[in-house]
Amino acid sequence: DENLGEAPATPPYNLSEYFKQFLFPQNECELHNFRLSFSQLKWDKWIIAPHRYSPQYCKGDCPRVVGHRYGSPVHTMVQNIIYEKLDSSVPKPSCVPAEYSPLSVLTIEPDGSIVYKEYEDMIATKCTCR
């Protein structure tokens, strides 16, 4: 930027902003809310509680450098490199649930008995890139 008298042909390039699009994608991988009612599935006749269920889901783009932020293994970054540099038919890492919480359900059995049961891995609570 030594020719101070002349107006620059193009505005100065902001390298910081340029790199940000790679490190922090706009639609980044994160947990999204989703709530359903069992009546939508017509299961409310035998599922007494809960009335609504929020399984949540993961969606978004995975950055090229995942590691610490998403708790991804090193292999995820390796697969990213393979996809970008070597073979685009190898899928790039996906945004998927990493942790779950259980759900308690109260249902009526066909014989008329009632059961309370706790089921594992029913609600996504955290996302990762894998």
């Binding site: 308690s104 009526i108 059995e109 008329g112 008995s113 049961k117 609600i123």
Partner: protein
């Protein structure tokens, strides 16, 4: 595959395990290999929803028996105590059960012999069908659940003498000879607002359930009077304790993969406690750290003395 004594594919303890009355025609491409089915009881009903045929049969689901309204009220209350509004099991619970089943008796024959001097004797035959209990559900506690009729005033003190017996005896087991099949006990309680009484019959029923008895047929005799002999109040005013036949509550630990195992999450939390490991002490045992800390503390205090 988890039902006792049966290899029925869709009769499982998995979530969405009903409606099993619907005809299941799963696309062969979606069927799991036999070995994979055991831990994937959730999948068949989910596959039914996804397949076109499943959607049709889902809507024409066979009606099921409706439970007793009192039983339903009790289980809803249990649900509120056990889970948050979002349906997540409450973390502070220390119990090991992840399944509670409530059965109402299939048939009962009531014999009443009114004797005003001795109290109200109420004899009831109860038959419970436990087909829904799977082989992977292990019994932790069993309870007879009684509700009072509304005529009993709240805060009443009641003393009952109960006699419980199994009607049929099982002599098929050579290894474990039948133990005691009848018990007698007395109990005293105060009638609270909700008027529920739970009678623990675990030790009585455990041998029967352990031998995979599908039907439990028992006779229950109750003689109840108002008053408390320990308080030297006169026992009088016979009450009609069991207008409603009791329900049978089974607290179970479902060991299948889809059930929530509380001890697993507790063990995981203990392995990542968030506090730094002490340098001079051995590795903290996830199951026994409390005991070790106490013993180390005691040794330290003895040395100081």
């Amino acid at each position: 595959p988890h039902s006792r004594g049966r290899a029925v594919f869709d009769k499982t303890s998995g979530f969405l395990g009903a409606p099993e009355d619907a005809v299941v025609e799963i696309n062969p491409l979606l069927r799991l290999p036999k070995g994979a089915r055991r831990g994937y009881a959730l999948l068949p009903p989910l596959l039914k929803v996804l397949s076109d045929q499943g959607r049709q049969t889902w809507e024409s689901e066979a009606p099921r028996l409706q439970p007793d309204s009192r039983a339903l009220r009790y289980m809803k209350r249990l649900y509120k105590m056990s889970a948050t509004k979002e349906g997540i099991p409450k973390a502070h619970k220390s119990h090991l059960y992840n399944t509670v089943r409530l059965f109402t008796p299939c048939s009962e024959c009531k014999h009443r012999h009114r004797d005003l001097m001795k109290g109200d004797i109420h004899s009831v035959d109860l038959l419970f069908n436990l087909d829904r209990v799977t082989a992977l559900e292990h019994l932790l506690k069993s309870v007879l659940l009684y509700s009072f009729d509304t005529s009993v005033p709240i805060s009443s003190s009641i003393t009952c003498v109960c006699h419980l017996s199994v009607k049929e005896r099982d002599f098929s087991s050579q290894v474990c000879p039948s133990g005691s099949h009848s018990i007698a006990f007395s109990l005293h309680f105060e009638v609270r607002k909700r008027k529920w009484v739970e009678i623990d019959v675990t030790s009585f029923l455990r041998p029967l359930i352990a031998t995979n008895r599908r039907n439990i047929h028992m006779a229950v005799n109750f003689t109840c009077l108002m008053g408390d002999p320990q308080q030297n109040t006169k026992l009088e005013n016979p009450i009609n304790v069991a207008l409603v036949p009791p329900s049978l509550l089974l607290y179970l630990n479902d060991t299948s993969e889809q059930a929530y195992h509380r001890w697993n999450s507790l063990r995981h939390r203990r392995r990542n406690p968030g506090r730094p490991r002490q340098r001079n002490s051995p590795l903290v045992d996830p199951t026994g750290d409390k005991g070790k800390e106490n013993s180390q503390g005691k040794r330290a205090s003895r040395r100081r003395r």
